[in-house]
């Protein structure tokens, strides 16, 4: 996982509640066995017509948001199936931050495992971001989102903040202690 740096980008506004993982990455793309190749299928049915042409009215097909690294959305983002492919697809498409009033639990966890920062913000602050049409800056170290008009602070668990900033994943962290673990295993009395 890459260490999480300060992100400066326009936020793509996806003005929908209850966006489920079937919409984020449709079922027909779950069969790929590698961890890459999902970005091109992100929001597939919303982005493309049945002939595979971009739908002009979908927000991510607007050139202005094409290189956006921040996704701004509504309540209960990532609900439905637990497929981690949803986080993989968002990341590969270029999103490093998702801002929403609330997330579905499994999706929220999956974000951290893949270097995506999910930010929970109260609705009033979300509204203000939806009205902002210029670059914003997300600083994880300071836990701030800075727009031309204001600086918004956000909460995040300390351990998760550290792992994102340092680009550590849980498995690597535990295995850093491999020697101690095997010493412990050896010293344990077997009943």
């Amino acid at each position: 996982m890459k260490p999480f740096k300060t992100i400066k980008s326009i936020a793509a506004p996806l003005d929908k509640v209850n966006v489920d993982t079937d919409q984020i990455i449709p079922k027909q793309f779950l069969k790929l066995i590698q961890k890459t190749g999902f970005g091109q299928y992100l929001f597939y049915d919303w982005r493309f017509t049945k002939d595979g042409l971009p739908k002009e009215d979908f927000i991510l097909n607007n050139l202005k948001y094409r290189d956006s690294k921040i996704l701004l959305t509504r309540d209960n983002f990532g609900c439905g199936s637990s497929r981690e492919h949803a986080a993989w697809a968002l990341l590969e498409f270029g999103f490093l931050v998702v801002i929403s009033p609330s997330f579905a639990d499994i999706f929220y966890n999956n974000c951290f495992k893949n270097g995506i920062l999910p930010i929970k913000l109260e609705n009033k602050k979300i509204e203000s971001l939806f009205r902002t049409d210029s670059e914003i800056e997300v600083n994880l170290e300071n836990q701030t989102i800075t727009t031309p008009n204001e600086t918004i602070t956000f909460e995040i668990d300390g351990h998760r903040k550290k792992t994102l900033l340092e680009g550590l994943d849980d498995i690597s962290i535990t295995l850093q202690h491999e020697e101690k673990i095997s010493q412990y295993e050896k010293s344990r009395i077997i009943y």
């Binding site: 079937d22 079922k27 779950l30 069969k31 049915d45 309540d75 999956n110």
Partner: protein, 423 residues
């Protein structure tokens, strides 16, 4: 403490915990299937590329594997995934691999109870969002993403934030025309698809004591659609009897303390519940079946971990016996053991006499994978659990979710039908 807190406390080696505490718990059982398995393998491959040695799992005897989403192999890629899964279980010495077409096989959540893979008081995690299902046996059961599952496979532990518990009390026995599916759809309609986000839903009351284990499993199964971390029901004599005939007799039950705390308690009167249908495109978009009788249908689908257990098929047979279906009707029992029982008890004959097609166990069209997916504009009534756009096929198809009784009655009429109104 309530049952969930007590299970997590025990697994964390603590005497007391409270909601929102973060605990590191020992896991008792882990499950992956033909979508999450290859996902976990992909995570392992990435770790190996980074130089990590992965030679053994924490405890292969606690891991079990099901093949259910894209079986029978939908195409060459899914066939490849099944091969990959077999190589994986062979490499790591996982003996509990329910191979499709070899003895017992079926949908993972169905096997979890049919085969008593998970026991009361255990901490069980699975690479699928409907892992919540097995909480009906009195276990803590929760779905995880692929990376988290990979972590558990290597370390046997995982951290959880202790969820707050919403307690749903059912007073009285459900009327004959109402099923657990109606009750859970009503709850989701009332609290919304994020009404239980990060929380546990516990069911209790004398209405639950009256309910069979399979019906209880329908309740916990769809706690997922309310956003719940887990769903749970305290074990009782019915749980013990259910497990006993499946050869599971040794386990440590956990029960809530008398002074257990719940974030909120909701009460429902069984006698007031009605047959419910969730309209497109969300499980919370509910209406009474009797208010939708003009809705014409193209297809009825009876399948999935939610709605193709043995008693679900019995309910369908009650309706279809001596009648004919007016629309395409597909019935896919959730495990081959259920299929066999339905065959032995004459249910399959009833289905075929009614004109329905009977298929093999698979997640199939429930997740839009294959075996009965929907075309553009097709309208389906289904015993499954989700009706998001495109969930069962084309983005412009429509799925109505309902109980096996309502789906079967609707199959006979070709329109949404309350089972009481069937001639």
């Amino acid at each position: 403490m309530n049952i969930t807190e007590k299970i997590l406390a025990r697994a964390a080696g603590k005497t007391s915990i409270s909601p929102d505490d973060v605990v590191f718990v020992n896991v008792d059982k882990v499950m992956v299937h033909d979508v999450s398995g290859p996902g976990v393998i992909a995570v392992f491959e990435k770790l190996k590329k980074k130089g990590m040695k992965i030679e053994k799992l924490w405890d292969a005897s606690k891991v079990w594997v099901a093949e259910d989403h894209f079986v029978p192999s939908a195409d060459m890629v899914s066939a490849q995934n099944i091969v990959l899964l077999s190589e994986f279980t062979k490499q790591f010495g996982i003996s509990k691999h329910f191979k499709y077409g070899m003895g017992q096989y079926g949908i993972c959540h169905t096997l979890s109870h049919e085969e008593a893979m998970v026991l009361p008081g255990e901490v069980y995690v699975g690479g699928d969002s409907h892992t919540n299902t097995t909480g009906a046996l009195g276990a803590f059961a929760a779905g995880l993403g692929h990376t988290d599952i990979a972590y558990v496979l290597l370390n046997g532990k995982i951290w959880f934030k202790v969820p707050k518990t919403l307690y749903f009390k059912l007073n009285g026995k459900l009327p004959n025309h109402v099923m657990a599916k109606d009750f859970i759809l009503k709850i989701i309609g009332d609290i919304g698809t994020d009404g239980a986000a990060y929380k546990t839903i516990q069911f209790g009351g004398n209405g639950i004591s009256e309910m069979s284990i399979e019906e209880r499993l329908t309740l916990t199964n769809m706690t997922t659609e309310a956003g719940a971390k887990s769903g749970i029901i305290e074990p009782d004599q019915k749980t013990r009897d259910y497990l006993d005939i499946r050869g599971a007799i040794k386990y440590d039950e956990v029960h809530s303390d008398i002074d257990a705390q719940y974030e909120e308690i909701y009460e429902y009167e069984a006698s007031e519940l009605e047959p419910i249908v969730a309209k497109p495109f969300s499980p919370e978009n509910i209406a009474e079946a009797r208010d939708l009788t003009t809705t014409a249908l193209d297809k009825a689908y009876i399948g999935s971990c939610t709605g193709a257990k043995y008693e679900d098929l019995q309910a369908v047979a009650r309706i279809l016996k001596g009648r004919h279906v007016k629309i395409r009707t597909e019935i896919l029992p959730a495990a081959i053991s259920i299929f066999r029982k339905a065959m032995d008890e004459g249910l399959i004959k009833i289905f075929m006499d009614a004109g329905a097609v009977v298929g093999p166990p698979t997640c199939g069209a429930c997740c839009g994978a294959h075996m009965g997916v929907l075309a553009k504009d097709e309208v389906c009534i289904s015993t499954t659990n989700r009706n998001f756009p495109g969930r069962m096929g084309h983005v412009e198809s429509k799925t109505y979710l309902a109980s096996p009784l309502v789906v079967a009655a609707s199959a006979v009429n070709g329109k949404i039908t309350d089972p009481r109104d069937l001639k």
